[in-house]
């Protein structure tokens, strides 16, 4: 088939249309021997000619001989007719869901984990009878056009039968032999594949076949992200960084680089700053992990003892020494090999605040680096940062910011007693203004402060049974950093699903299934790429969203305000409706949201300004949490679910439970005691993202181009019977 025609058909299919009766693809129909696109008497004559001349194109049974059986097979195929239509591009690779929408069409999958090929029959007509399903090494559209041969990466195609019913749930085939799929991407972290249903059974991608991944991969298979990459590593244990402003007692750096650095160019760099009482030699697990994936890693002494200003000053100056002395460091092996513009900063505790302060100092001209600039810093990651300097100074602003902390941290504990230890505050300060980058939060249940280094004291505070230990905490951290840095420096945004989806949905290898990781993600503040429906930053009335949408509700005790625990205790009291919100920890932090509760069927509805075409968006996104120690939270003591409903301009509705994806829901608070009566630590805001197309699965009658309202429905008819909810950042993302 000419490429142009094929692409046009694909586009049509992607829009939900399936062409039928169009010309066949060349080579897709063996019985069409004269290639005129039709089966006629002339094909019989052509068969006879080929047969008579001994041409093996007439060997229809493939036995190498021309016999009566070839004629019979030819006749069978002639009678069956040629498959009609064009190549159909559709989403196929999915996580199987037990409830509507029954399939989560995602891109990232973990090696060896089950996944499903699912067909939404309202979009694509499922093939009848048994068909072969192929998982093929990713090809571009041009490569498919040049070579349509289907070669399964497992070594064999998988026969499968789609039920043909009216629901996606009737049309799912679980993939087998996935253990044969290679997920080894070398120093990268995912292997791309295309998924093809070979409807006509001709072993080629041809008319009538269905493909997920014609233009761009259909799916990515990820290895165990906690394992080392393939690069051998060389470490320089310590060397001295002499640079104005670096104290003599804090002047050591430690370096790890790929041993074959001499053959590399444009190598990204990760720089690590420790916290108070910690050592620059305590992060070898990061050194090894990152360097084995082809990056250079430098950790340095950090002057945390005096405080955060001094810490940030060493954080700023050590890179200046590093970048200015590549010709001498490690004998000069790094010279000409690195890409300064692909630098990531990671800081721990006081160092975690220090990297935020350092970013802020460059941004506002308080420090002017000699040998690098702000735009070189692609990622600023803070591990359980303190917050001594508060809003105006410890502020990562527009950086690509990441925060990671453990719920069992006994040092920077995230509690309400003092702003200094409310680690979420710095995270909340990032990504709030037009042009700001994305921000990501990784909250690891059962991890303590020093689990993120090798050698600090065990300061775990929490139920003993929930302590996960240093090794497991570092597994979670390695996954987050690997995908974040890959995204930041190599643009592999598919891996970001590991920090965007619920952990229960995309279960990463190398991490125990019982280990809970709460993911929170806010896309870059680019209003060409997102529409904010309500971030509660403006329009402080509870009846008007920041977008101007009208808000109605009958949930009870709804309060809009700063997401700041109003006292120094986690004990529940109605006088402190933002209890557990250790997010805006002083009067200058203005991050806002709402809280409310319910113990019967209730709703919260956003009536959009005009109507919105949800087809233009990839995600409906919001973040929510349970309210710690509230009687309704305590009474439930488990993950919460509720329904998200879209309503179109004609009044049609479609609903999805937030528990549908991975059967998770809204995490109940970590049951840690202290800081008041009861159990439950800080509120764990987590992000939920739903593909708007999921609301139209199975032909549900809703016009996504004409959405009038988003309604959240709570209570026994919609999920959990009762609960206390915190809610924020309702957005549409392209």
């Amino acid at each position: 088939m000419p490429m142009q025609f094929r692409r046009a058909a694909v586009l049509a299919a992607a829009a939900g249309l399936v062409f039928a009766g169009a010309a066949n693809a060349q080579g897709s129909c063996r019985a069409d021997l004269d290639g005129d696109g039709e089966l006629t008497l002339f094909d019989f004559l052509e068969f006879q000619n080929l047969f008579d001349s001994g041409d093996l194109r007439a060997d229809f049974d493939g036995d190498g001989d021309l016999t009566l059986f070839d004629f019979l097979e030819f006749q069978n195929e002639f009678d069956a007719g040629c498959p009609s239509g064009d190549i159909i591009s559709a989403e196929l690779a999915a996580e199987s869901l037990s409830q509507y929408p029954f399939a989560d069409y995602v891109r990232a999958f973990s090696e060896g984990r089950p996944f499903t090929v699912a067909i939404d029959p309202s979009v694509v007509t499922p093939p009848v009878g048994s068909v072969n399903i192929y998982i093929v090494a990713d090809k571009t559209a041009a490569e498919w056009d040049a070579d349509p041969t289907l070669t399964d990466a497992r070594g064999f195609a998988q026969p499968g039968t789609f039920g043909g019913g009216a629901s996606t749930n009737d049309n799912k085939v679980e993939m087998g032999g996935i253990g044969f799929l290679n997920a080894d991407a070398g120093e990268n972290i995912g292997v791309p594949y295309d998924v093809v249903i070979d409807v006509d059974g001709n072993g080629e991608l041809s008319g009538g076949d269905i493909i997920d991944g014609l233009d761009g991969p259909g799916m990515w298979l990820f290895k165990d992200l906690t394992t080392l990459g393939p690069a051998a590593r060389t470490r320089v244990a310590t060397y001295t960084a002499t640079f104005p402003g670096i104290p003599a007692s804090r002047d050591q750096q430690r370096l790890t680089y790929p041993s074959d650095i001499a053959s590399r160019t444009n190598v990204p760099v990760v720089i690590i700053a420790h916290g108070n009482g910690q050592q620059y030699v305590w992060y070898d697990y990061m050194h090894d992990h990152f360097a084995s994936h082809g990056w250079v890693v430098m950790s340095h002494e950090d002057d945390t003892g005096p405080g955060i200003e001094t810490a940030s000053e060493t954080i700023l100056r050590h890179p200046d020494y590093f970048w200015g002395n590549l010709d001498t460091i490690a004998g000069g092996v790094l010279e000409g090999r690195l890409d300064k513009s692909q630098t990531s900063w990671i800081g721990h505790s006081r160092g975690g605040e220090g990297v935020a302060r350092a970013w802020n100092k460059i941004e506002f001209g308080i420090y002017n680096p000699v040998n690098y600039e702000l735009s070189d810093i692609n990622l600023v990651s803070s591990i359980a940062p303190t917050d001594f300097l508060l809003t105006s100074r410890s502020n990562p602003g527009g950086s690509n910011h990441h925060h990671i902390a453990g719920s069992g941290d006994g040092d920077v504990n995230g509690g309400p007693t003092t702003p200094i230890t409310q680690y979420f505050a710095i995270y909340e300060r990032a990504g709030n203004d037009e042009g700001d980058n994305q921000r990501t939060n990784t909250y690891v249940w059962g991890a303590d402060h020093n689990d993120f280094n090798c050698c600090g004291f065990n300061d775990y505070s929490g139920p003993a049974a929930l302590q996960i230990g240093r090794a497991e905490a570092q597994q979670a951290a390695k996954i987050a950093w690997l995908v974040l840095i890959q995204d930041a420096v190599r643009g592999n945004d598919v891996g970001m699903e590991f920090v965007q989806r619920e952990k229960e949905s995309l279960r990463p290898l190398g991490l125990r299934d019982t280990t809970k990781v709460i993911n929170e993600y806010k896309a870059a503040y680019d209003l060409s790429q997102k529409t904010i429906i309500d971030d509660f930053q403006t329009q402080t009335s509870t009846s008007i969203a920041s977008s101007g949408a009208s808000v109605s509700f009958d949930v009870t005790n709804l309060v809009e305000g700063r997401i700041d625990d109003g006292d120094t205790s986690f004990s529940w009291t109605p006088a402190d409706p933002m209890n557990g919100m250790t997010r805006a920890d002083n009067g200058l932090d203005q991050h806002r949201g709402i809280v409310f509760d319910y113990n019967s069927d209730r709703f919260l509805e956003f009536d959009l300004v005009g109507t919105v075409d949800f087809n233009e968006y990839r995600w409906l996104s919001f973040r929510a949490c349970q309210g710690t120690r509230h009687p309704d939270t305590v009474a439930i003591d488990e993950d919460q679910t509720f329904m998200v409903t879209l309503r179109d301009g004609s009044g049609n509705t479609s609903s999805i439970s937030i528990g549908a994806y991975g059967n998770a829901g809204l995490q109940d608070p970590f049951p840690r005691t202290g800081t008041g009566t009861g159990a439950g630590w800080g509120n764990e805001l987590e992000t939920f993202r739903i593909n708007p197309q999921d609301f139209a699965r199975d032909g549900v009658n809703i016009d996504l181009s004409d959405i009038d309202a988003i309604r959240f429905e709570f209570g026994p008819s919609h999920g959990t019977a009762r609960g206390r909810i915190g809610f924020d950042d309702l957005e549409l993302l392209r």
């Binding site: 003599a248 007692s249 009482g277 600090g456 003993a464």
Partner: protein, 208 residues
């Protein structure tokens, strides 16, 4: 039987709740337990001290080793008790929690014209704070609190004897005394070998 059940329940509860939490910060002001080493030093080129708000330049002072209540120096990210020596703060070179010994440097020429006389000043831990935020006014307040708590200087003869054991280190700059600092950390707080090594490494040639 009832007692047994109660005991079992209490045991189970204890096992299920909190483990390994950091020690509480002891009350301050708190005196150090002992001073076990003291040595004067003098530098040709002074170095800025980041351990108090004014960031004074230090050209002379003392290296001291203190025996302390470990809980006072448990490494915390939140504010820690500040170590004061006379009318200034001291720079702590190691953590000292496991050993109970802290190696510190204190400038003797920071305030006023008269150099600090170690035998006449009290040494104590004050209110938890970041040293970089502590200024002369705050030090005066903390000193008053220490006086009120009855914290006194060490016996002058003890200090004199300690100082007599070590000659003044005369070095070009702070880097020159780092070998000594590293050796002291190794001697008095051997659990912190990496701290000692880093201090000593700072005297090595850079960049390799």
């Amino acid at each position: 039987m009832k007692f047994l059940n109660t005991t079992l329940a209490a045991t189970a509860l204890a096992a299920a709740v909190v483990i390994a939490a950091p020690p509480q910060v002891p009350a301050t002001p708190a005196a150090v337990q002992d001073i076990v080493f003291a040595q004067p030093f003098s530098l040709e080129t002074g170095e800025m001290s980041y351990w108090r708000a004014e960031r004074p330049t230090v050209k002379s002072g003392y290296i001291i080793v203190l025996k302390v209540n470990p809980d006072l120096v448990y490494p915390r990210q939140s504010a820690e008790p500040v170590l004061y020596v006379g009318d200034t703060t001291a720079q702590r070179l190691n953590v000292g929690y496991r050993s109970g010994h802290v190696v510190a440097v204190v400038g003797a020429d920071i305030t006023g014209d008269k150099a600090m006389d170690l035998s006449k000043v009290k040494i104590w831990f004050g209110t938890p704070e970041l040293p970089e935020r502590v200024d002369a006014k705050r030090i005066a307040q903390e000193s008053a609190l220490a006086d009120a708590a009855g914290i006194k200087p060490f016996d002058a003869e003890k200090i004199s004897n300690l100082l007599a054991q070590n000659e003044t280190l005369n070095e070009q700059d702070m880097k020159g005394i780092q070998d000594e600092l590293g050796a002291l950390v190794r001697r008095f707080s051997p659990q912190e070998e990496s701290v000692a090594a880093a201090l000593e490494a700072g005297t090595q040639t850079s960049g390799n």
